[in-house]
């Protein structure tokens, strides 16, 4: 087997993607089902001159990567539901202070301790609204290891391009199952590196004044520009300001910076959508079962299609609306009580066409589950 082909867990595919993207600092804390990410990076990072630290809790881990990012490095942390809840305040800080970083949440049964060793996708809304106050967030997911690798690299690229935290919402099934992964050669996937300011020392540098193209060049801690970073609303130099004009402008910037680029950030896959009269919308490990049903029913002449979302936030409403426009019914396949279904209902015309095919008992939703629900929707009973 060529050296770049591996048979790994999804968690390890995420690690390979992060290393490929240029990760140099990881802080984490043990939690099922994401611990393998920390374990693998504790070995891999020092090999590439990077640094790994196991902090005292998930809050500290999130705070540590923000500190490290400010010194010019690509950073990441990984956790699961309970840790993701603990990280929310610091995640909001990274949003406010516009700090590039990647936060992996390998979802498990929730709420609370929930179902640690079993699959669920119940943190989707938490990824969107977990931290307090108005804001925008980027959250991506994947259903197989090759995509986990690619989406992880993309997360770093988006984090650097828009100077923002990016959440990776994986789940226990993809995280723990083993599958083939082909690691691309260096350069095969273009990387976005940290954009540094060209303003020389002694000249006024604005860490928070976007350029014409919207980019926000950074200056590393330790460099020639000394400025302030705060979670308070702030002016273009990073100093606290409660001036209404500044507050409105900054909040508008923080939201628009992401939401105006929804199309650019939208990653999805489609299968047999052209003439589909029933469109399945799914993501993460649920999409594996959904794809199986599509292929299986297509072989029997049913016009079924799948829209697999890889970007969940900002929600690609226009794309979902267009891809479902011609379908008689739209069935959202996910393992929660309809967190993305609600978004799809809001996005498509005639929302009464939208149904939920879900499973919330900790077991991976199966093709049979989906097929039975389709039959119910079509009034044919199981």
């Amino acid at each position: 087997m060529k050296s770049n082909v591996k048979f790994v867990q999804g968690n390890e595919a995420c690690v390979e993607g992060a290393i490929y993207a240029g990760l140099k600092f990881f802080a984490g804390y043990p939690i099922t089902p994401s611990t393998e990410i920390a374990e693998a990076l504790s070995a891999r990072l020092p090999q590439v001159g990077g640094k790994f630290i196991q902090m005292e809790d998930e809050i500290a881990s999130m705070c540590a990567i923000i500190g490290a990012s400010l010194t010019g490095h690509k950073v990441m942390t990984a956790t699961s539901g309970p840790g993701f809840s603990l990280k929310q305040e610091a995640l909001g800080y990274a949003v406010m202070a516009e700090i590039p970083c990647v936060v992996v949440n390998v979802q498990r049964g929730g709420p609370s301790t929930g179902n640690p060793t079993h699959v669920a996708q119940g943190d989707v809304m938490q990824a969107r609204w977990g931290t307090h106050g108005d804001h925008a967030i980027v959250a991506m997911t994947a259903s197989n290891h090759q995509d986990v690798f690619a989406v992880t690299v993309e997360a770093f690229n988006i984090a650097e391009t828009y100077r923002t935290p990016v959440v990776l919402l994986f789940d226990e099934v993809v995280g723990h199952m083993r599958e083939k992964l082909v690691i691309p050669a260096p350069g095969e996937i273009p990387l976005v590196e940290r954009l540094h300011t060209s303003v020389p020392g002694g000249v006024d540098y604005h860490p928070y004044l976007p350029r014409e193209d919207g980019r926000l060049p950074m200056s590393d801690f330790g460099g020639v520009h000394r400025y302030n970073v705060t979670g308070l609303f702030h002016d273009m130099w990073g100093f606290p300001s409660d001036n209404p004009g500044v507050v409105h402008g900054l909040l508008r910037h923080l939201v628009d910076k992401i939401e105006n680029n929804t199309y650019q950030m939208a990653r999805y896959k489609e299968f047999c959508l052209e003439d589909a009269d029933t469109v399945l919308v799914s993501y993460g490990s649920s999409a594996r079962s959904a794809l199986h049903v599509v292929r299986n029913r297509r072989a029997r002449g049913e016009r079924l299609g799948l829209l697999e979302l890889q970007t969940l936030w900002p929600f690609p409403a226009a794309i979902v609306r267009e891809k479902c426009a011609r379908a008689r019914s739209v069935v959202v396949v996910e393992m929660n009580t309809g967190q993305i279904m609600r978004e799809v209902k809001a996005a498509v015309s005639d929302p009464e066409r939208v149904f939920l095919a879900n499973r919330i008992d900790g077991t991976l939703i199966t093709p049979t589950d989906i097929r039975n629900i389709l039959r119910l929707i079509q009034g044919r009973g199981v």
Partner: protein, 267 residues
């Protein structure tokens, strides 16, 4: 460089109340940093939330004003990823030892080269005068209208037990000692803790009838004594000032460099 070269002059006068001890800590810290002749580009000041933590905005370093209690966790990320930087982390007593207690003891346990300054005015000032883990028993505060029943931490013993390799205490009255201790703490290669007894006349002083800034600083003069002094032996209630711990143990970032060596050798 003169002291004024280290401040962001445009933000003065600062927001602290008249007679607030935090301004004296800022004054003393400036003189300590000035005496070290360090470039301002090498210093990263990481502070939390509270009156004390507004100090980072006034100083012309790389400044990171974080969230309540988490300054040391942010600072650990900065330091480990760029060990050549000098990390100074001023915090309030609540910031460092209430919500921040977990990060405080773990930063000490790791012995990572960070200088932690606990600006201890025994009150939450920013939010208007609630008691803190360092208030101690019998203290009046807006959340202790019948006086506190909470024991306070002994920051020195807590730091010693957690593993800090430089631990010192002084007060805003003893500014010359404070500047010397801050200087040594910054130079120390390991986790340094400097506890500073500092006055909050507005809330602590008023609610506990300790008078204004001058009276409170006189209280520091009369109720503290050098470490190991005869006076302490005779009057155990006196609070000791000076250096309690000063030892060299492996510093976290240097130890991690050896991890990198082992990892790359083994490849």
């Amino acid at each position: 460089m003169a002291v004024k070269d280290f401040i962001r002059e445009r933000f003065f006068p600062h927001i602290w109340c008249a007679g607030c001890g935090h301004g004296i800590v800022l004054n003393s810290l400036l003189r300590a940093v000035e005496s070290l002749g360090m470039s301002k580009n090498e210093i990263v000041m990481v502070s939390g939330i509270g009156c004390s933590s507004r100090i980072s905005g006034y100083l012309d370093f790389h400044t990171l004003h974080t969230i309540h209690g988490r300054a040391l966790a942010f600072a650990t990320g900065v330091k480990l990823s760029r060990p050549e930087l000098n990390l100074i982390v001023p915090m309030g007593d609540g910031d460092a030892l209430a919500i921040g207690g977990n990060h405080f003891i773990h930063a000490a346990r790791r012995n990572i080269d960070i200088t932690a300054i606990v600006m201890n005015n025994r009150i939450y000032g920013m939010t208007g005068g609630q008691f803190s883990p360092l208030s101690g028993c019998g203290i009046m505060a807006t959340t202790a209208p019948y006086a506190t029943v909470d024991q306070g931490f002994d920051v020195v013993e807590l730091s010693r037990a957690a593993g800090a390799t430089f631990v010192a205490r002084s007060t805003t009255y003893h500014v010359q000692q404070l500047t010397k201790l801050l200087r040594e703490a910054i130079l120390h290669e390991g986790f340094s803790v400097v506890e500073v007894l500092t006055q909050c006349p507005t809330y602590f002083g008023r609610r506990n009838k300790q008078g204004g800034a001058v009276e409170m600083m006189n209280w520091f003069k009369d109720h503290t004594t050098p470490v190991g002094s005869k006076a302490k032996a005779e009057n155990p209630d006196l609070i000791e000032r000076g250096i309690f711990v000063q030892k060299d143990l492996p510093e976290y970032c240097k130890a991690y460099d050896q991890v990198i060596e082992r990892a790359q050798k083994g490849k």
